[in-house]
């Protein structure tokens, strides 16, 4: 029944290339997280505005990002924008898609986080003579960060996992892309993808570990 001999040697020989791919994966995820956090902050502010137009826009963004598959979002950017004559590279589509997704999910987290910071904190800060911006920066933001820190790391892990979707729109220099390249050349599917899986596992574990160390350093009273 089982008459397959594993050939790990060619797979291990590809390891340097795959590590380079892993770095691209990490970079893409980190970049999408940075952009995603900025966009999510903007969306959170927009959702708290009195003007219904930005509020509706932000709500639409969040609900689309959360209710459709991330692969669909990447497709939309890769194929959909082509209808307008914008042909973007698969990496740009991947980055934009994940950023769109991250921003939607994080905006929701930020909203929950802001709700969890008591209003009285803001009022107390204002009555101590702080300006609105000062109060946000010194009082609300540090408390918010504690609340959204865990969801943020989670989202970072998700971003890394989502970068694997790039291969479907033809990206070939991230970890999955490199693996797929080797796969179609050698047909040692199991070996190559097993190594990719191990690398992904390690990346996510390293992220979680670093986040935990950072939290330990940041959130000491």
């Amino acid at each position: 029944m089982f008459d397959y001999t594993f050939q790990w040697r060619p797979a291990l020989r590809a390891l340097p290339d795959m590590l380079a791919g892993a770095w691209v994966t990490f970079e893409t995820a980190a970049l999408s997280m940075i952009l995603g956090v900025l966009l999510a902050l903007a969306l959170t502010v927009m959702r708290r505005m009195d003007n219904p137009l930005p509020r509706a826009f932000a709500n639409l963004w969040v609900s689309i990002a959360r209710n459709t598959p991330s692969l669909f979002q990447i497709y939309m950017l890769y194929f959909g924008l082509g209808s307008f004559g914008w042909h973007i590279s698969s990496w740009a589509a991947l980055l934009a898609g994940i950023t769109f997704n991250n921003a939607g999910y994080l905006a929701e987290n930020f909203r929950g986080g802001l709700k969890a910071v008591p209003d009285t904190q803001m009022r107390a800060a204002r009555s101590l003579g702080m300006g609105a911006f000062q109060a946000y920066r010194l009082i609300v933001f540090p408390q918010l960060l504690r609340i959204v820190y865990h969801p943020l790391t989670n989202q970072m892990v998700w971003a890394v996992l989502m970068t694997s979707l790039g291969v479907i729109v033809g990206l070939n220099d991230d970890l999955t892309g490199v693996t797929q390249d080797y796969n179609v050349r050698t047909f040692r599917t199991f070996e190559f993808f097993a190594i990719a899986a191990v690398l992904y596992y390690l990346i996510t574990k390293v992220i979680v570990l670093v986040a935990r160390l950072l939290a330990w350093r940041l959130f000491r009273y």
């Binding site: 497709y75 194929f79 959909g80």
Partner: protein, 216 residues
């Protein structure tokens, strides 16, 4: 500008794809919930003895689903199982869902106050009676929103099965796009279908949640 070569047949093809998406979701959630409840109860009852289980399940949460599909699909061929791609999709998604469901169930069970369980035991209930009549109803209400989120996320993740050759909603729309070359329209329809499916599941779940809270 507003002319299109999208035919009713194409729409039907997409709806069939959506049906496959729903079937996959249902099957994966069935496997995932059954396994998740068992594992979650074990995790809550014996936190230290089942640590290896939690490490094993953690692997499924830390490796991209796409890679899990490819790995399992090739493993299936290596071992010589004669499974259809659909079965492979169901199994991989099911295990993936189980990994998340375990944590949800564990959280729900741990949210039942110890004093409540002690009270039920001191009323003369056996361990199983306590589990069946006290822990289960309380934990279900706590865990339900998380479970519903899992359903929604699994439904979105079914889009990845296209890589192992199952024609679900997104793959069906891609096939149509390749033929009629109107990506924006077709993808918008696909997105709308996904959105509606999510909305219906979320609404039904919210209604159920409300109904459960009435008799509190």
């Amino acid at each position: 500008m507003f002319s299109t070569s999208l035919t009713a047949n194409d729409l039907l093809f997409m709806l069939q794809g959506a049906w496959v998406t729903l079937k996959l979701t249902a099957a994966a959630m069935l496997i995932g919930t059954l396994a998740g409840v068992v594992f979650g109860l074990l995790r809550a009852a014996m936190p230290y003895a089942t640590l290896p289980l939690s490490w094993a399940l953690d692997v499924f949460r830390s490796v991209p689903l796409l890679i899990q599909f490819v790995l399992f699909n090739s493993l299936k061929s290596l071992v010589g199982l004669d499974w259809s791609a659909f079965t492979v999709g169901c199994v991989v998604l099911g295990v993936y869902a189980a990994a998340f469901c375990t944590e949800i169930v564990r959280g729900g069970v741990l949210a039942v106050p110890t004093s409540l369980r002690r009270a039920s035991r001191s009323l003369g209930m056996s361990y199983w009676q306590d589990l069946r009549y006290i822990v289960l109803p309380v934990a279900t209400r706590v865990a339900f929103p998380g479970w519903l989120n899992l359903v929604l996320s699994v439904m979105k993740d079914t889009a990845l099965v296209m890589w192992i050759g199952i024609i679900e909603l997104l793959r069906a729309s891609q096939t149509i796009v390749t033929r009629i070359q109107e990506p924006l329209l077709v993808l918008c329809i696909a997105g709308l279908i996904y959105y509606l499916m999510s909305l219906v599941v979320a609404r039904l779940g919210a209604r159920l949640e409300r109904r459960w809270q009435e008799d509190d």
